[in-house]
């Protein structure tokens, strides 16, 4: 069996994730080999295929879209760039191109894989070799290309390599009358501006260059390619357009090119002039923060002078790129390059772009980023009025085959009709957390994953496709190939680790979406009616939505929360809501949806927290709302204030069990333990690591906001030495120290079950473990985890005061 035979051959995504009866939802499907496929809409009950559990459960739902479809191969055009639509004023004969640039893969990526030619500022058609452009060549040298078509092109380079993580003034000019070409790269290094790059650049001559040439080719031929920054044009019209959502500023659709020569790194103050400027003029042009400061003669030569700091006062989420020059040749940002990042002049006097936008005028580009796959729609489903709230999927099968490489599921979530709840219980699906973990590709890329999990990753057909497709834009547990952490994640692309039947790299079995189906299954089998909501519903509708339900449940890992969600859960608890946190490490990272598109979220991981990467100096604030990113605890909203417990340790390996604590025998609490013996271990079984206390663990902590009247019902013990403490509590590492130490022989390595009452007859029940829900189905759902859950849930559903 070859890799190709094993790899997933079909996949897709939806245009929205939360729908009501009557709504329409679009599905976008890619077929690797353009094979026909069968679609069936299914209700998902249980996604775990482990033979030791109840097995996979789905129910086919008859809908008009069920049927056979023709497969269409749909590539993703990854890589962020800026586009200024084609304009004749940019078809110059003589010209100057200049900017500040901070290359992060001048020759090779962090795996030492050659990156190839990268484009900085181009009006260049790579298929026809027409136009002009400033590039970085394969040897890492700044290069000017002038093309007149049919391979009639010339290249002039600085013959010196650019260094990684160093700011430069870069540029080139061409005088069509004299044929003179000038090209220069001048390091622009301060003590602070390079982030973690070097500031002692000596000898300067290793990388500084200014070179003159004489060209006899003649001026560049005009091309219909748009003007691109951080890419060049492969095909001027790709058939894919943008408008609306995070392109709300566009009055009409703008068709995108297919791009190439993708650049990794930053660009700031890009300028185009329609004549060869002198060195002194270039210096003035790049130094001026405003075009208005320039002499009139120089201003008249400007074709475009884009100011990336112009519209980042409140947030840096806009895809609108302002041209401050005389012609207003505004552009758009494609694939969400990172804004709100430090520029060539960052002094470290400010830590937020909101406080000093003039020092955050750079944009960082990555050649793997994706904001939207922009695939052609394949079919649309109108949610039938009879469709009960639940977790659903479009099941795709190539030629009707259920072989693992031929089958994919595209999940979506049906909430109740607009006229009100259909149940007393709501389960909020942690879509923001699914997005954070999307397409991590850790099985193939991460060295540390095997240490965290104590096992070799298991690759399934989707993992093989994902690696081939470079992660379809990746997720926030990964770094781009230039070493920068992925801080933006979109749902508008296949998310291959958000699938039933999926076995996750960060667990001995399941994690996130598929693990949350353990809870869906238990609620279904126990006969509870439940309404399914999604993070973005809570984000948009707040406590008004939650308070329609006496009881609200989380899944097993709602780790990523926006400010609006945090507020909604706080208000829900104060207004008498009863909240069951069936998880660990929840409400941990600050996660902000794009202000105009809930399908795209941002996460910035600061200096603190158990994290996959660390943000660069001065870049702690989210582009999407301008507020400090990172851990909620650094903004005074530590999770234990809402959950009674705080993240304490983790071991992405086998699990353990709980012991009852004395509070569980108090009159206020013992109703939850009906049918459970005083000395009975709780949950020494289950489908996630063989125990109900596992993966990630939370403990109560009165110093960190656990309410003073909280009850400790149970705690786990006996976790293996694969467990470690969380890094945010580590100040000094020392052998034998308790906080910040290894997990075994450490009383902070435990999951606590905590219960407390809130105003207006509300309450919170927290289990402090991510493997809790995996134990619910053990022994035909007859076990003490299931019993404790049922007792607590039934008690929470009863109106009136709790015992």
């Amino acid at each position: 069996m070859t890799t190709q035979q094993m790899m997933l051959r079909i996949t897709g995504y939806t245009d929205r994730c939360s729908v009501r009866p009557g709504d329409e939802i679009g599905f976008h499907v890619h077929s690797e080999f353009e094979e026909p496929y069968q679609v069936d809409i299914v209700r998902l009950i249980h996604g775990d295929t482990n033979p030791e559990g109840p097995g996979f459960k789905e129910k086919v739902v008859r809908t008009p879209v069920n049927g056979r479809y023709r497969g269409q191969h749909q590539p993703v055009h990854a890589g962020s760039y800026l586009m200024v639509p084609a304009d004749s004023r940019l078809d110059v004969e003589s010209f100057t191109l200049c900017a500040y640039a901070y290359p992060t893969t001048p020759t090779v990526d962090c795996e030492y894989v050659p990156v190839g030619m990268q484009a900085l500022l181009t009006k260049w058609n790579a298929k026809t070799d027409t136009g002009y452009g400033l590039f970085i060549n394969e040897a890492g040298e700044l290069t000017l290309r002038i093309g007149r078509g049919r391979r009639r092109l010339v290249e002039y380079s600085t013959r010196k390599p650019l260094f990684r993580k160093v700011w430069y003034r870069v540029g080139a000019s061409y005088d069509a009358t004299s044929g003179e070409v000038r090209i220069w790269q001048i390091p622009h290094v301060t003590i602070t501006n390079g982030g973690h790059g070097m500031s002692m650049l000596h000898p300067h001559e290793d990388t500084a260059a200014s070179v003159r040439y004489r060209s006899s080719l003649g001026p560049p031929r005009a091309t219909d390619a748009p003007f691109l920054m951080a890419a060049s044009t492969l095909v001027p019209k790709s058939g894919r357009s943008v408008q609306g959502a995070h392109y709300a500023q566009l009055a009409a659709p703008v068709e995108l090119p297919e791009h190439t020569h993708k650049y990794n790194g930053r660009i700031e103050r890009p300028r185009v002039a329609n004549r060869a400027l002198s060195a002194a003029e270039v210096e003035l042009l790049l130094a001026a923060s405003s075009v208005q400061q320039l002499p009139g003669e120089l201003r008249e030569a400007i074709v475009g002078a884009w100011d990336f700091s112009a519209n980042i006062a409140e947030n840096a989420a806009s895809t609108h790129i302002v041209d401050a020059g005389p012609h207003g040749l505004h552009g758009i940002a494609v694939n969400m390059p990172v804004r709100g990042v430090t520029g060539f002049n960052w002094s470290s006097d400010y830590m937020s772009f909101r406080h000093a936008p003039q020092e955050y005028g750079a944009i960082h580009f990555h050649d793997e980023s994706v904001d939207d796959a922009r695939w052609e729609p394949s079919f649309r489903l109108k949610i039938p009025a009879s469709m009960k709230s639940g977790v659903y999927a479009a099941r795709l099968r190539v030629n009707g085959s259920s072989d693992p490489d031929c089958e994919d599921y595209i999940p979506f979530f049906v909430r109740p009709p607009a006229d009100g709840p259909t149940a007393k219980i709501a389960f909020v699906v942690a879509m923001h957390s699914y997005l954070a973990y999307a397409n991590d590709n850790l099985s193939v890329n991460s060295v540390i994953a095997q240490l965290l999990t104590g096992q070799v990753p298991l690759l399934q057909p989707g993992d093989l496709l994902l690696n081939k497709e470079r992660g379809y834009g990746l997720g926030t547990y990964t770094s781009y190939r230039d070493g920068w952490g992925v801080n933006i994640s979109s749902r508008l692309r296949p998310i291959l680790n958000m699938r039933p039947k999926y076995i996750h790299v960060l667990s001995p079995s399941l994690w996130q979406f598929n693990a949350d189906l353990h809870l869906v299954d238990w609620l279904f089998e126990m006969g509870y009616d439940v309404d399914i909501l999604v993070d973005e519903d809570v984000q948009r509708e707040g406590v008004a939505l939650l308070k329609q339900y006496p009881v609200v449940l989380t899944g097993h890992h709602p780790e990523y929360m926006s400010e609006q969600q945090m507020q909604a859960y706080h208000d829900y608890q104060h207004q008498g809501g009863r909240f069951m946190y069936l998880a660990a490490n929840g409400f941990y990272w600050i996660c902000q949806p794009h202000p105009d598109n809930p399908n795209i979220v941002e996460v910035r991981k600061g200096d603190n927290g158990t994290r996959a990467w660390t943000i660069s100096p001065g870049e702690y604030c989210n582009a999407f709302d301008g507020k400090h990113g990172g851990l909620w605890r650094v903004r005074g909203r530590v999770m234990s204030k809402l959950l009674g417990v705080t993240f304490t340790a983790f071991g992405l390996t086998y699990s353990s069990y709980y012991r009852r604590a004395p509070d569980s025998e108090l009159p206020e609490c013992r109703w939850m333990f009906k049918g459970i013996g005083r000395n009975e271990p709780i949950g020494n079984f289950g489908l996630v690591g063989g125990g109900a206390a596992g993966l990630e663990l939370d403990r109560y902590d009165l110093e960190l906001g656990t309410p003073h009247r909280a009850y400790l019902l149970a705690h786990s013990e006996g976790h293996s030495d694969m467990f470690v403490s969380v890094t945010e509590e580590s100040t000094f590492n020392a052998r034998g120290i308790i906080p910040g130490s290894l997990g075994d022989n450490n009383p902070r390595t435990r999951a606590d079950i905590v219960y407390y009452k809130t105003p207006n007859d509300g309450a919170v029940f927290s289990v402090g473990s991510m493997s809790w829900c995996g134990s619910l189905s053990h022994n035909g759902y007859d076990n003490n985890v299931s019993r404790l859950m049922k007792n607590a849930l039934d008690g929470f559903l009863k109106p009136g005061p709790l015992p």
């Binding site: 093989l464 390996t653 006996g718 030495d721």
Partner: protein, 143 residues
Amino acid sequence: MATRRKTGPDTALARDYGYTTVDDYDIRTYILPALRDPVRRAELIAEHRAHPRGAASQPGSPPPNHSPDLKRLIDRLRVVPQAGKHTIVETIPWQEYAIGILPGRRGGVVKITRERHATREDAEHAIFLHRLRALMDRYGLAY
């Protein structure tokens, strides 16, 4: 092919000499003594075979941790570079597991070898033996 261009002398710094030298010292000091002893080596292999991926904790027994020598060994084997590293590919869910070779980078192809195992644990142990053999070869030790 473009490579990271040299801009000065080929210094120890550029070759990460400090890391690789101390890494070599650590392996010789902490890992190899147990591997040189055939009896101890066989014990470590048998211990790994019993619980290649660990096990759940149970009341009444201490957590099923690996022995200190096995921990040091497997932790070192797990951090070999991604390129060319063994992995497990699920070929028939819950029935058949193939040994694959990672490309070490995104966009590359995971090579699937002919080697098959009936359980994930068997595949895990087989990879442990492959990696152990490679480490011993590197230090000229007979397996």
